[in-house]
């Protein structure tokens, strides 16, 4: 494999990791809000249990993606920086409001509710908005001036149905993944009624994500026809993805003696598999373009010396951080006592 392919695979893996972690993170914020008032279950608390220690770590993944992108593909910075300035700035503003208001809400009991509403609602929009950058990369929304300088056709983007289909796909995926994850998290802690609430939500959201995904492809602009063709060429990945969804979704009904129905761990695993397979297929269909038809990964890749030192820094970084991540996982994701402890 050449450097460009290795690098894009790495960047892609980071994007995938953030897509999952970010979805769970932002979705959990939303579900904490929805279940806030409903007594009887500890659904809101369980969501906050996950969120409090995790949002910072999740946020670092977002930063990692931008840094990895300009590190490996410095020549993409010019195109992406010029085109995406406005949409990305809006996401940044939402992200800032979301994180800071969430932290404020932990510190002010009395005003905690309005602060949480603001952070929950802004959070819900973020994954959808991030995903809606995808149509831009497919062509049709970028205009070149006479000197060859690119700019984004913002009006065209806003009036295009595919933008909204992507938005809907982003939001429904986020809510689905978060509900599924939280059902497993509650199950792990033995919180049956909470588990059942989240399971119910996941059951409702699952088919919706599939529907919006199809809609997103169906509404592509004429300029993006190439990706539809290429997706057709990589159809096996998408079929496998649907199969994985089917397995994961049915795992929510598996009966096991007296216990409540469903094997959430299995469901989460296969649904992540579903997204994994689909995004591998989508990624391969997208290659070699970063920005169709202006920029390919081969044109944007960095020089050899830097490429090698980046890989070294990745290896060292992962080796140093692995124990920290392990400890984190043990303390916050595995520890029953932590998840189900009473109080805030």
């Amino acid at each position: 494999m050449d450097h460009a392919t290795v690098a894009i695979a790495l960047v892609w893996a980071l994007i995938f990791a953030y897509a999952i972690l970010g979805s769970v993170d932002f979705g959990a914020g939303f579900w904490a809000l929805v279940f806030d008032r409903r007594s009887g279950t500890r659904a809101a608390q369980i969501a906050n249990r996950y969120l409090s220690p995790s949002w910072e770590v999740t946020n670092v993944f977002l930063v990692l993606i931008t840094v990895a992108m300009v590190g490996f593909f410095p020549k993409a910075a010019f195109w992406l920086g010029t085109i995406l300035l406005v949409p990305v700035s809006l996401v940044l503003i939402l992200l800032t409001i979301r994180s800071s208001f969430m932290v404020y809400s932990y510190s002010t009991k009395r005003y905690s509710r309005p602060l949480r509403w603001v952070s929950g609602l802004t959070g819900v929009l973020i994954p959808g908005l991030l995903l809606s950058v995808l149509p831009v990369s497919l062509g049709g929304f970028v205009e070149l001036s006479s000197e060859g300088n690119p700019s984004l056709l913002f009006g065209k983007l806003l009036s295009s149905p595919t933008e909204y289909a992507h938005l809907a796909f982003g939001i429904s995926s986020e809510l689905f993944l978060a509900a599924l994850f939280l059902s497993d998290y509650a199950h792990e802690a033995g919180e049956t009624s909470t588990y059942l609430s989240y399971r119910k939500v996941a059951v409702a959201m699952g088919p919706l994500t599939l529907l919006t995904a199809v809609l997103a492809i169906y509404t592509m602009t004429p300029e993006a026809a190439w990706i539809v063709v290429r997706i057709g060429e990589h159809l096996p990945w998408f079929l496998a993805s649907i199969v994985s969804f089917a397995i994961g979704y049915s795992a929510l009904w598996i009966k096991d003696g007296q216990r409540p129905p469903g094997r959430p761990r299995l469901a989460v695993t296969f649904v992540i598999g579903q997204y994994f397979l689909a995004s591998v297929g989508y990624g391969m269909a997208h290659l070699p373009y970063i920005l169709y038809p202006h920029l390919t990964i081969g044109q944007a890749i960095t020089n050899d010396a830097l490429f090698r030192s980046l890989l070294v820094s990745y290896s060292i970084g992962i080796a140093v951080l692995a124990p920290g991540f392990y400890l984190f996982w043990r303390l916050f994701l595995k520890d029953k006592k932590y998840i189900s402890r009473q109080g805030e």
Binding site: S52, P53, S54, E56, V57, N59, V60, L62, V63, T66, V67, V70, G71, F72, F73, P74, A77, F78, W79, L80, G81, T82, L84, L85, V86, S89, L92, I93, L95, T96, I97, S99, S100, M102, V103, Y104, Y106, S107, T108, K109, S151, T302, N303, A305, L306, S309, L310, S313, Y314, G317, V320, L321, G324, F325, L327, F328, L331, F332, D335, Y338
Partner: protein
């Protein structure tokens, strides 16, 4: 206004906002480390309480530090694509490693905050040391890129193409070590003086119980010791930073000092403003030959002046004032912490009220030092974004909607500043020290 000016305004004010929270994010964890260690050694519960309260404050600050950092991190690529294109090919590694430092800090901060009751004291101290190490490293690594922008090394530029890249030469560029030490030491002293400000403020207030005053005196003492050591380190190292400028960036030093003519026995000008017509600093205090001595260690050392360089390469002359402010604050805070410790350790007397009142200013002053220092350093690099290699105007985005974004972001920063202060006050008002110490209020 053209898009370059708008991009500079937007980026500069975003950095100026981030740096407040980022610097405290480097300085406060060090104070928590000391509090935890003192708690372990002395078995005095006051120090545990300090650690707990400072950690809560730090958690609130992080709620702004992290998203504002995310903003500047992403903005750097968005607003300066021309710069990123070169930077990405030469010095992307420290940026990458900085992310590992962020992970380290974020992981252990969560562990320290949310799992404190499940960790032994040793593991707790270890995790807060990791937090401090992570945040100090991220400051060092970002400074690495900043230092490289001032003294770029490790590549060649031939008709717009980057060739001959040596990442290690770029990383270990000549201004890196001295600048990194300056940034970390100044962040540490800022953390200490901010803690000290609060303690001094509480001690000034009437009607506190003796038990509570004892708590605040302990915290002030700790702040003064760390503050004295780190402000001395900042000042001494600052001297070497200025000598670094003399060697590698003489034009920046000339502008900082308002020196027009090259020559020996250059005088040091304190205060005043640089006048282009008169070719000198007007209204300042002049110390003959002092600048030569500071820059070259000899009174007859030759210091280069502005007139040796073409006018279009001069940075704005007001950086003289920024530089003065930083240096004077530095000197003043060394003297202040020294004087306060002298009262306590040598004269063995309680701090007089006027001294407490001055100590309250310590935190805000060091934050002003940080702001003026950075704006001096970034503005003093103009018109270059990468010294001698790329002009700022050639690095900027071509997007022209920045004006609206500028308004939005400024509004956001003002809102967050107000909310952060309100939330802090609200939280600590509801949990007064007296209650946590278990004493009845008043006396």
């Amino acid at each position: 206004m053209d898009s370059v000016v708008m991009a500079r305004a937007l980026f500069g004010s975003s950095m100026a906002f981030h740096i407040i929270f980022a610097t405290l994010g480097v300085g406060v964890p060090l104070m928590i480390v000391f509090a935890e260690i003192f708690a372990g050694i002395t078995k005095n519960s006051d120090y545990s309480l300090m650690a707990k309260r400072w950690t809560k404050a730090q958690a609130i600050l992080l709620g702004v530090a992290i998203p504002s950092g995310t903003i500047v991190g992403v903005m750097l690529s968005m607003l300066w694509p021309g710069f990123m294109e070169i930077m990405g090919q030469v010095i992307a590694v420290p940026f990458q490693v900085e992310i590992w430092a962020f992970f380290l800090e974020a992981l252990f901060m969560s562990i320290y905050i949310y799992a404190a009751d499940r960790l032994s004291r040793k593991l707790r101290i270890l995790s807060v040391i990791m937090v401090s190490f992570g945040s100090a490293s991220s400051a060092v690594l970002i400074t690495n890129v900043h230092a490289w922008m001032n003294t770029p090394r490790g590549f060649k530029l031939a008709d717009g193409k980057v060739t001959d890249v040596h990442p290690l030469q770029a990383i270990f560029n000549p201004s890196f070590a001295v600048t990194a030490i300056h940034v970390v030491a100044s962040a540490f002293m800022t953390g200490a003086f901010c803690v000290g400000s609060i303690a001094a403020y509480k001690l000034l207030k009437k009607g506190k119980s003796e038990r509570e005053r004892e708590y605040h005196r302990r915290s002030l003492y700790l702040a003064l010791i760390v503050g004295l050591v780190c402000s001395m380190a900042t000042a001494i190292n600052g001297h070497f930073t200025a000598q670094m400028l003399h060697h590698y960036l003489p034009l920046k030093l000339a502008a900082a000092e308002g020196l027009f003519e090259t020559g020996p026995h250059a005088a040091l000008e304190i205060f005043g403003s640089t006048s282009l017509e008169k070719q000198e600093v007007v209204g300042g205090i002049t110390i003959p030959s002092a600048l030569s001595f500071l820059a070259t260690d000899r009174f007859d050392g030759v210091v280069r002046g502005l007139n040796d360089y073409p006018r279009e390469l001069w940075p704005p002359l007001y950086i003289h004032t920024l530089f003065n402010l930083m240096v004077i604050i530095g000197g003043f805070l060394v003297a202040l912490s020294f004087g306060a410790l002298f009262y306590r350790l040598v004269l063995k007397r309680p701090y007089p009220r006027w001294l407490l009142a001055v100590l309250v200013a310590g935190g805000p002053l060091s934050l002003i030092g940080i702001e003026t220092g950075w704006i001096f350093s970034c503005t003093g690099r103009q018109p270059w974004v990468i010294s001698g290699v790329q002009k700022t105007a050639d690095a900027a985005t071509l997007s022209d909607n920045i004006g609206v974004l500028f308004g939005l972001f400024i509004g956001l920063y003002v809102l967050l500043m107000i909310l952060t202060i309100t939330v802090m006050r609200y939280y600590f008002k509801r949990k007064p020290v007296a209650r946590e110490l278990g004493v009845t209020e008043g006396s």
